[in-house]
């Protein structure tokens, strides 16, 4: 079956062990303020417009006047009127790009398998990420099952926000969960991501009880969740579980900002800069007093 794919990234070295191919699926139920892939939020294809690349040739306005027009030599884009599934107008600067392509799971797998030798040499494999892969549950299940049949090591990078039943179904095909613990305070979680963390933490507990190996992925955002109580909360979660093998702190970086703008989204954290290595090192050091689970950034 087909899934809506944002991107397929080969030689991915930050999404699980070894060399991996990460398949980013489009669509996510969360709206995290710091999202570094805001173009993966919407579950439908979108048009990305990068104003810096626009050469103001006006061709898009000629081809699709219903959604593109030129005003004083500047391009104006009416997103609401734009059909992201229609052919793109010719864009001289390459500023207009379609994000999201419906692709067959077998085609994805074929591409993933091209790097099998690299996975074997490095202990790597396939990572499904997003977006939230569980949002395209049937596709995710099919792809994971087929990948497992090929002997691939599979990671699922997930927000944890879905019915547990779905996790129970993918569990046999997932070797390692990359499981987000974004905020341990329930109210703050809702404020930062738009949803409650109750189901997320419950799913994590249930997965752990079934022996699912997990890396906790914890975005740390200065001024929002770089708090001692949250750090202690993460450690408490990790310490209460049996199968958490690692905690990855993911210090904030602002690269999501321009990508949000390309798809016409506001970015809440416009003022924040990247976390320095020194700060992240200090966080890791602090964590080591709280838990025996290995912590990295």
């Amino acid at each position: 079956m087909k899934g809506l794919i944002l991107e397929l990234q080969r030689f991915s070295v930050n999404d699980g062990p070894g060399i991996r191919t990460t398949v980013f699926l489009k669509g996510c139920p969360l709206r995290c303020l710091w999202c570094h892939n805001p173009e993966s939020m919407s579950p439908v294809p979108e048009i990305s417009y990068n104003a810096e690349k626009c050469r103001a040739c006006g061709n898009c306005a000629r081809e699709q006047p219903h959604c593109h027009r030129m005003e004083d030599g500047r391009h104006v884009f009416d997103r609401a009127a734009c059909d992201a599934n229609a052919p793109l107008p010719f864009c001289l600067g390459g500023a207009l790009v379609r994000l999201g392509r419906w692709r067959e799971s077998r085609d994805i797998l074929e591409e993933v398998l091209k790097d099998k030798a690299f996975y074997e040499a490095s202990g790597g494999g396939l990572t499904l990420s997003g977006g939230e892969p569980i949002l395209q549950f049937e596709f995710t299940l099919e792809l994971l099952r087929a990948a497992k049949a090929q002997g691939l090591h599979c990671c699922l990078d997930t927000s944890g926000f879905a019915d547990f039943e779905k996790y129970a179904q993918v569990l046999p095909f997932v070797d390692l969960f990359l499981y987000d613990v974004k905020e341990t305070d329930p109210e703050r979680h809702r404020a930062y991501t738009g949803v409650s963390n109750a189901r997320i933490l419950e799913n994590l507990r249930l997965l752990d009880a079934r022996g699912a190996k997990t890396i906790l992925r914890c975005p740390i955002i200065p001024t929002l969740n770089d708090r001692p109580d949250h750090f202690a909360g993460i450690a408490r979660v990790a310490n209460s579980l049996k199968n958490v093998v690692q905690i990855d702190l993911m210090p904030f970086h602002p690269w999501g900002r321009s990508k949000a703008h390309y798809v016409g989204r506001a970015y809440a954290l416009d003022h924040l800069g990247a976390v320095t290595d020194e700060t992240a090192d200090a966080w890791v050091k602090g964590f080591r007093a709280l838990t025996d689970v290995p912590v990295f950034h």
Binding site: Q9, R10, F11, S12, V13, N14, G18, I19, T21, F90, L92, G94, K114, D115, A117, F118, E120, A121, S122, G123, G124, F296
Partner: protein, 778 residues
């Protein structure tokens, strides 16, 4: 007036020429030895304060014997092919008919000699001597003989000048740039042992042996000259330096009469022989110096720090050649370490580690340390190599024995044991160590050949037909017919190259014995013949190829857009290229968006693989017809950047004048599917060649941070599944951009350009841009 150095060089040139003239009828080996005697030690320079070895030279003889000399570089008629023959002056036509810019053997620098004469007063008698000398060489130099006897079809078909300009797709050199000689034999036997071996010979021509012995006398004389010079400097030096100089003098005096006993003597003999025979490739250094290195330390003759100090001094001699302006701005002195087929692997490994440590300590561009490796080799060597690369050394370049050895067996037609002695030379041209001789003296730019096919052989820039006339576009109603025309164009060119090779070798054989190189090349001494007379065990030739990946990408675009999707006709496509895409931005985008090599894309890679197979098999099939043991393509050099500047737009979306891809790399920036995809594409080359270079630009994070193990796994997996070679440049993001803006802050930023290493800030802007445009893998 002319200065003292010019006068000294001029005197050497006059003496050299006089001796050559007096011995015109002599056997080439004898004439050559007599001429070398005029060149050395006359061209020798004293040791510098920091030298532990002697062996510096006064560079750039006006007339002399070299393997490869760059001369006449500023004569426009030899460089620019930008107008039809009818518009070239008679004088320039004459110069084109006798001169080259890269020559080997008897080198005379027409341009420098005439410039010198122009500085002298009209009534200065030396002026007349210079003109008489020029007139003599214009008649007798091997280069002139070669040029005059060159196949007319070759000249008229493709090559007006010894450069690839806007109107040329192929050219040629008359040089020896890839000698590999047996330094192990030199150090095992020493000068007396070599002498005894030559004296014991019975086969071949006794005159060859006599010349060889005379040439060895020159080497011994040079040792004595330097010894005397060192002793004289010692007299006025401080006690510590005086002791060093006396040690050097003693070593020089010893090696003149006996075989080397220790590391100091071994390196000294190697270096003296090296300068007299004009080598730039130093071969399997770990084999021939390994035992000396280990034994001296074991016996207490040297401490390890003392041994390392000797290596650093040797490295400085090598790297200073470049700094002093010897050859061109980029140099390619290779030191090979590691690999199968070493007689002393444990000792050699120890030397290999020491060699890499020395390179890491000095961070010089030269020498170019090259690591050969195989599954099962001591992993410390590979780890050390990655340390060097991560530290920005650029070398070592990595050669996979498990792929190269089987390829060389087939490509060079040699036994497994001999194939184990493959060594990459200079920019990466492979030889069978001290058994084969071949220079990449044929140049082809595949992309220009395709351009000619798209214009039925017509070159609009020079308004002449060049190459083969392959017929009008209307004939190419299928992709296969177009592709076939390109194959015919290349086949025709390779035929001409084959004939040219035969003639070149005949001229060398008749004029030059390359006697010092012959002594250390199998089987010259046993056969009593110089390399080109039939002395070398394997005689071959190579073609330097350019633009292979651009051509494959162009074919992919044509196949897709013209023949499959029919989005434009072939005539329209050619018109778009002729217009350099002006007014056709949309069509250019279509071409840019077509599949490109370097992305593990089956469509693009299949076209690349097929083209690669054709070009490599085609040239290999011509070897026998030109009397060679092998005839192979190599694909190495940054010349593609230079050559691209004169080249019309191409169907891969490349604009007129933009760089070509370097070596076997994708076009800069066309690879955007990740490192593993790039490595998979690179493996699809057809392995029948004399060296394909794969450049890779990676960030420092990947080599030194937490991802180093993953990067290593990627590289290891690449090599275990068919990867043949990698040349890695490791940079911080932003380094190159910053270096272009503030070059003074980045004097040591080393980069890889094809088979060459270069200091980034010394490169031309066009080359800098090409490197900048390459994908940086993070």
């Amino acid at each position: 007036m002319i200065n003292d150095i010019e006068r000294r060089k001029l005197n050497i040139a006059l003496n050299f020429t006089r001796v050559y003239r007096e011995n015109l009828a002599a056997h080439p080996a004898i004439r050559e030895a007599l001429c070398l005697k005029e060149q050395y030690p006359a061209m020798c320079e004293p040791m510098r304060d920091y030298d532990l070895f002697a062996g510096r030279l006064l560079y750039h003889p006006l007339v002399g014997f070299l393997n490869e000399g760059l001369v006449n570089l500023s004569i426009p008629a030899l460089r620019d092919d930008d107008k039809p023959d009818s518009e070239v002056s008679e004088h320039d036509t004459y110069l084109r008919s006798i001169l080259q810019r890269e020559i080997g053997g008897y080198v005379y620098n027409y341009e420098a000699l005439h410039a010198l004469a122009a500085k002298l007063p009209a009534d200065d008698p030396i002026r007349e001597e210079i003109f008489a000398m020029c007139a003599f060489w214009e008649k007798h130099s091997p280069m002139t003989q070669y040029m005059k006897g060159l196949d007319r079809e070759f000249i008229e078909g493709m090559s007006r000048v010894n450069n690839v300009g806007p109107a040329q797709y192929a050219t040629h050199f008359f040089r020896l740039c890839c000698f590999s000689v047996d330094f192990d034999k030199l150090l095992q036997l020493g000068l007396p042992g070599l002498r005894a071996q030559i004296q014991g010979g019975v086969a071949g021509n006794p005159e060859f042996r006599r010349g060889a012995l005379m040439a060895l006398d020159v080497v011994a004389d040079v040792c004595r000259w330097y010894a005397a010079q060192a002793r004289s400097s010692a007299a006025s030096a401080d006690p510590e330096r005086a002791a060093q100089l006396r040690a050097t003098a003693q070593a020089l005096e010893n090696i003149a009469v006996e075989k080397p006993k220790n590391l100091r003597e071994a390196i000294q003999l190697f270096w003296i022989y090296n300068i007299c025979s004009d080598q730039i490739n130093y071969g399997r250094t770990d084999v021939y110096l390994g035992d000396f290195f280990v034994n001296d330390i074991a016996s207490g003759t040297l401490t390890r720090p003392q041994a390392m100090e000797l290596l650093r001094s040797l490295w400085r001699l090598i790297s200073d050649q470049l700094k002093d302006g010897w050859r061109v701005s980029i140099n390619n002195c290779r030191i090979i370490v590691g690999g199968r087929g070493r007689r002393n692997p444990e000792n050699a490994d120890q030397f290999a580690m020491a060699a890499m440590e020395t390179t890491l300590a000095l961070k010089e561009q030269e020498p170019n340390v090259t690591l050969r490796f195989y599954k099962g080799q001591n992993p410390a060597l590979f780890e050390k190599a990655l340390d060097l690369i991560a530290a920005g050394c650029v070398s070592p370049t990595l050669y996979n024995d498990d792929e190269h050895i089987p390829m060389c067996e087939k490509a060079y037609g040699v036994s497994r044991a001999e194939a184990e002695q493959y060594i990459p030379q200079g920019c990466g041209e492979i030889q069978i160590d001290h058994r084969s001789i071949s220079s990449p003296n044929n140049i082809i730019v595949f992309l220009a050949a395709l351009d000619l096919v798209l214009h039925d052989g017509w070159n609009p820039k020079v308004r002449e037909y060049r190459g083969l006339r392959t017929g009008p576009l209307a004939q190419f109603d299928t992709y296969e017919k177009l592709y076939d025309a390109l194959k015919r164009q290349i086949d025709y060119t390779n035929e001409l190259f084959a004939r040219r090779n035969r003639w070149e070798n005949q001229v060398h054989a008749a004029t030059s014995a390359f006697v010092l190189s012959s002594i250390l090349t199998d089987d010259c001494v046993a056969r009593g013949k110089g390399i080109f007379e039939g002395g070398a065990r394997y005689m071959g030739s190579q073609i330097e190829t350019f633009g292979l990946t651009n051509t494959a990408d162009s074919l992919a675009a044509i196949k897709k857009l013209v023949y499959e999707e029919k989005r434009m006709s072939l005539e329209q496509l050619v018109a778009i290229l002729d217009a350099d895409f002006n007014g056709y931005e949309r069509e250019r985008r279509m071409m840019l968006e077509c599949p490109k090599f370097g992305n593990d894309d089956p469509y693009a890679d299949a076209i690349y693989a097929d083209l690669c197979r054709f070009v490599n098999e085609n040239v290999a099939s011509k070897a026998k017809s030109c009397g060679l043991d092998f005839f192979l393509n190599c694909n190495l050099n940054p010349g593609g950047v230079r050559y691209g500047t004169g080249m019309a737009a191409s169907a891969d979306g490349r604009k007129s004048g933009d760089s070509l891809a370097v070596g076997n790399a994708p076009t800069a920036g066309a690879d955007c599917n990740g490192l593993t995809a790039l490595l998979n594409s690179m493996k699809k080359q057809y392995k029948l060649h004399s060296g394909f270079v794969q450049n890779l630009k990676v960030s420092k994070n990947l080599l030194s941070g937490k991802n180093r193990e993953k990067f290593k796994a990627a590289v290891r997996s690449y090599f275990e599944t068919g990867g043949i070679h990698l040349m890695i440049t490791c940079l911080n993001r932003g380094d190159l951009e910053n270096a272009m803006v503030e070059p003074e802050k980045y004097p040591n930023l080393l980069v890889r350009v094809g088979g060459w290493t270069a200091r980034f800030v010394t490169l031309e802007k066009s080359v800098q841009k090409e490197i900048l445009a390459r994908t940086l893998y993070e």
